[in-house]
Structures are given as C-alpha cells and as structure tokens.
Amino acid sequence: MDNLVEQLKQQIIDELNLEETTPADIDPAAPLFGDKGLGLDSIDALEITMLLEKYYNIKISDPKQAKEIYASVNSIAEFIKANKN
C-alpha cells in the first residue's frame, strides 16, 4: 500500500505537471481538490482518469464515482487495490 501511495504521488506530479511539488509535499490523506490541499481542478480530474487507465488499466466513466474516488491519494490507492485487474 505504501509503495502504491508513493508511486501514485509521483505519477500525479508527472502527469499533472505539478512542477514545484515533491512527493513529500503531498499528504496522502489531504483533499486533492478545492482550495485546501493540492488545489486541483476539473482538468486535473480528467488527467487522473487517464492516468488510472494508462498505468492501472482501470476505466472510470461516471463523473460522480470519480469525485468520491479522487478525494485523496489514499482513496485512489484503495480503489486501485480493490479493482486491479
């Protein structure tokens, strides 16, 4: 799990172009979206969807489901573990 969380952090930084952020800056329990935490937006959410498809072969098509899953790095990691093909 910890490995997955660290790996996810790096993938999010790379794919979302978070140039000034290091994995250590990301609190895996903190919210990814909104004014608190990382402050990601709707385009970032679409990029996370692509990231999950690219690296984990997981397709998320329902935007409501995405909102819950993408709450934090931890929640994404849990979803990957539960749905890994």
Binding site: L16, N17, L18, E19, E20, G39, D41, S42, I43, D44, L46, E47, M50, E53, K54, P63
Partner: protein
C-alpha cells in the same frame, strides 16, 4: 432615441448539413428537422458519435465554390467562398472599396493540415493566411480581421463589426464564420467527456453533453441605409466579458455572461420585458446550461422565451454565434419562434422559459449570447426597432506602461528588468522571469508557453502600474497573436497521432485556443471586462487596430483601462509587447 449610425443586417448565408442557404436552413429548423445523425468515420474518431456535417456535393452548383476548388483552396476556404458569394450576390456592394472590411470568426481554421505534417506547421494553417486567401478571392483591398475567441468568436465578430461601423471606420463589414468537423477537435471534446452519445438535449434534466457540428455562415452588415431593404433588422448593441473563474469550466455564478447581456441590452436601450427571444449558447453540457440559467436569472430574463439551436446544428464552434444569429434574423422576418429541439423537462437550477413549440410570434428584439473556453462571454442585441446609440464621445488616452519580452529579456518601459540571457532556454527563462516578480502560482507550470509569455508580461506590467483602482469589470483585455495556438496544436496533433493507446489529453487540448492566454490573465487578475483575441500577420499589423479599438472602449465608458498588445509563441520563437492605456486625466 435619435441617432445617425445604424448598423443594418443586409444579407446572409448559412451552409450546414441542413442546406446551402439561410432559407433552406431555416425551413428545416422550423420543420423541426435536425442535421445531427450518427457518424461512423474512423478518420474522425475511433467510435461512432452523433454529429452534423456538411455534404460538399450539394455545393457543386455554386460557381464560386468551383472556382475556389479549382484554385486549390482548402475545404474550409471553399465553403467560406461559397457562403460569402451567395450572400454577396444579393447586394450591390463593391468588396474592393476602401470602406469595406472582411471579418472572420474561426477557432481552428485549416487545422486539418497538421495531420500528417509531422510536427511542422504549414503556412496555410495560419488563420491570417486563410482569411487573406478568402478575402482576396473577392478582390478585397483591406487586410481582413480574424477573431479567434473560442466559441464566442461568431458573436464577438458581430460586436466588433458593429463598433467599427458605428465609429465610422468602415461602411460595410462582411462577417464570415466557419469551422470544420475534424479529428483534432472531436478528440479534444471527447477527452473532456463533453460529447453526448445521443443528440444533445439543451436545458433538459437528462442532458449529458454536446453534439459536434460544422457550419459556415456569412452576415453582411452596413450603415448604408440604401441597402437595408423595407423591413430592416439592425445590430443594436453588443458586449463581451470574462468569468475570471476557470479556463474550461463555466462560471458557477453566471455573472460573466450576465455582464455581457446587461451591457448589450443597455446599449440597445432594451429592458428585460422587451426581449422577445433569447438565443443562448445552450450546448447541453451540464455546467454550461446551468451557468446560463443563472445569468438569465441575474438579467431578470426568466420569462423571456429561451431557445438553443444546438439540437439542429450541433456545436459549430467558431461559426455557431454567427450561424445561430442568422437563423434568428430569418425567424424575425418570418415571425416564427423556433423550438428548442430535444428539450423535454427543465433541468437547470434557475427557472427559464424554454421554447417548446415552433409557433408564430412577433420577434422584434432578440438577444443572442455565447460563452466559451477561456471564460469568455459575448452578447449581441438584434432588433427590427430603431435602437442603439451613436458613438460620438472622444477621449484623449495615454500609454501608462509597456512590457516587452523577447530574446530572453523582460523590459519595462525600455529598461531591462529581468535579464535571462544566461538561462538555458525559453522554458527556464520564462519560469525564472515569472519567479523574479511573483510568488509561486500553482497554475503557472501547467500553462502552455504562449500563456506563460502573456501572463508574465502582464505580471510585470501590473506590478507597479496596477489596476487596483479599477473594479472587476473596468479593465479590457485586447490581445493579438500570429500563430494562434499552433504551438500547442502541434502537441495535441502529436498525441492523437498515436492511435494505440489513443489518449488525447484535456490538459493539452484546453490550450489549443488563442484566447486561453486572456483567460489565464483574467483569472490571475480577476478581470471580468471586455475581451478580444485577434489573429494578425504580426505585431505591426495589430497595433493600429488595437489602439483604435481601445480608444473606442475608453471613450464609450466600456473600460477605464485597457491592456492591449501582442503575445506570440511558436516552436521556440516568441515575442510579447503589452501596454496599459487609460484616459488622460
């Protein structure tokens, strides 16, 4: 209201899958026939999708179209020539005269030329080149104007035309709008999950996205009353604005669009009860329609009949604002209010009066709006009543400061304020230049190189010569470029050239519009005033027009300050020069 300069709509044309004239297209709309059907074309998208397409074979009777084809002009140019020539044939206008200008509205022009170009940018892919070829086909002497302002381009082109004619710069404007259905655009909208699997359902509770479309339209406007005909319709008011909220997501409050509606109605001297029809953007994406309902509520227009024509044409991008205005003009002439096709049950948070029937109605004054990526909005009021105002005010203006970025140096009023000649490349230079003046800004690293350039120039400019004394609507942003977004367009093309896995990126696609740099500046500085994004042959070709246009906005009280200039980036070559101008005290 007494005034002299009236901008009449004197001739028009629409080419879409529904027909090759305004009459044919309007006949289909009033018969509630859609042009949207299933498209299964692997060269456009791997999966079938619903869309509206032009059938080029129906244009073969047009001599101008055949001539354009024989000259080797590109498909979009052929369609533009066919459209403009059909409209021009019904007027005695001398298009070669000094007082005639061609104005183009297009988001992507000949973007299909990037397909197979292997990262190179063909000369014909530049929007100013497309415009020149089409206007020169007709023998035009004046350089054409190209407005590339995302999905508001077609409405904004009318606003600009109206202002140029009212201020006496020209007598007649030939406005041509067009965009093609291409893999480039479809893949981008699909990556945004914006395309519905079914024909779009504007304002409906079940709406789940837009339908793609293609169209070309021409509207000829003139202050020459002799050309106006017996029952003239005029452009009576217009405005643009920015949400200053997000580069792709619509405003959550609707205030930006409301500002455009309010200002256009004020210029036309029309109050809410006098608006007989609103033809809004109505793309049928959940957030766009929601935002529009809020703006309509803020404008007190909840009772005005509301139509979206997207169920007939799909989203025709740079043509949409123009094409849909022309349908409204023809409906006004015929005295019939069109229905919002595919709408069944209201699904927007603020109650609006969606038109559910095609029925006879006196349409004297119609409000047309559009909203687009980059947070931009525009509105125009068309009316058969004598409405509007003359532009008589004059004002003396002064340039407060100019920021110039080129050759890895930032100069403010001629003094170098950041010297990055030691930086390894543009990427490092622009990052360091921004860092030298601003606190870390999360959005900066995500921007494309052109946005970084324009934003950094603005950052330096506004640091000491601020707009703190201005309200959120008081600053107009008027920028030009030459390469449009071609630098990022090449990146998007490279991504979609990879077919397996096929993974178009929304974070790249969103920057494939020239006006996104204005969106980024508006978000950063909370600017919700007038917006305009032009594509010109270069910096020199844009400065005279932008200065005059800014003076007009300042004189008419549409802005207290204007940021005008040029910001262009293409494959390592770049230049920015932005000036803050204001009224002399």
């Amino acid at each position: 209201m007494e005034f002299d300069k009236i901008v009449y709509a004197i001739a028009d044309n629409i080419i879409s899958g529904l027909g090759a004239t305004t009459a044919e297209n309007t006949d289909k709309v009033l018969a509630e026939k859609t042009g949207i059907g299933p498209v299964d074309d692997k060269s456009l998208y791997p999966e079938p999708f619903p869309a509206q397409r032009i059938d080029d074979r129906k244009l073969t009777t047009s001599t101008a179209y055949q001539q354009a084809k024989a000259k080797g002009m590109h498909r979009l140019e052929q369609l533009m020539v066919a459209s403009a020539s059909e409209a021009l044939a019904r007027t005695p206008i001398d298009v070669e005269a000094d007082d005639v200008i061609f104005i183009f509205s297009s988001t992507k022009g000949n973007i299909r030329l990037l397909d197979g170009a292997k990262g190179k940018v063909p000369n014909d892919a530049f929007l100013d080149q497309m415009a020149k070829r089409v206007s020169q086909f007709f023998g035009a002497k004046n350089d054409p104007l190209v407005i590339s302002n995302a999905c508001i381009s077609g409405v904004l082109a009318q606003v600009v035309a109206m202002r140029l004619l009212k201020s006496g710069s020209y007598t007649t404007a030939i406005i041509i709008g067009g965009d093609e259905l291409t893999e480039f655009v479809i893949s981008g909208f699909e990556s945004f999950k914006s395309v519905s699997a079914n024909p779009c359902k504007p304002y409906d509770a079940q709406r789940d996205g837009l339908s793609m479309g293609e169209g070309v339209a021409t509207l000829i406007v003139s202050t020459n009353a002799a050309l106006a005909g017996k029952h003239p319709i005029m452009l009576a008011g217009g405005a643009s604005s920015n949400d200053a909220n997000h580069i792709s997501g619509p405003s959550r409050t609707g205030d930006g669009l409301y500002f455009s509606m309010r200002n256009a109605m004020a210029e036309a001297g029309a109050n809410a009860s006098e608006i007989d029809l609103i033809d809004a953007h109505g793309t049928a994406t959940p957030y766009n329609d929601e935002m529009e309902s809020k703006a309509i509520g803020l404008a007190g227009l909840n009772k005005a009949p509301l139509v979206s024509l997207k169920g007939y044409f799909g989203h025709t991008l740079g043509a949409s604002g123009l094409l849909e205005t022309i349908i409204c003009l023809e409906c006004m002439r015929r005295g019939i209010r069109p229905r919002t096709l595919n709408f069944e049950q209201l699904g927007v948070p603020v109650p609006v009066n969606v038109s559910t029937k095609t029925e006879p109605a006196q349409l004297r004054t119609v409000l047309k709006t559009a909203s687009g990526f980059g947070g931009c909005n525009a509105a125009v009021v068309i009316s058969s009543e004598k409405r509007g105002k003359d532009y008589t005010a004059t004002t003396e203006t002064k340039a407060t400061a100019t920021c110039r970025i080129s050759n890895q140096k930032v100069q403010l009023n001629g003094t170098t304020v950041y010297d990055g000649t030691g930086d390894a490349d543009y990427g490092q230079f622009i990052r360091n230049a921004f860092k030298a003046i601003a606190q870390p800004y999360m959005k900066f690293p995500k921007m494309d190189d052109q946005c970084k350039l324009a934003l950094t120039a603005t950052e330096y400019l506004l640091k000491d010569h601020g707009t703190d004394d201005c309200g959120e609507e008081d600053v107009a942003l008027l920028l030009a470029c030459n390469a449009s977004s071609l630098d990022t367009d090449v990146r998007h093309q490279e991504v979609i050239d990879i077919k397996d896995p096929y993974m178009p990126s929304p974070a790249i696609f969103v920057y494939t519009l020239a006006n996104i740099m204005e969106g980024e500046i508006c978000i950063r500085h909370k600017m919700k005033g007038e917006n305009l994004c032009l594509v010109t042959g270069g910096k020199k070709e844009s400065s005279g027009f932008l200065t005059n246009y800014a003076n007009l906005l300042l004189a008419e009280g549409r802005a207290k300050k204007c940021l005008i200039g040029y910001a262009d980036y293409l494959q390592g070559k770049y230049e920015a020069e932005i000036t803050l101008i204001e009224k002399k005290q």
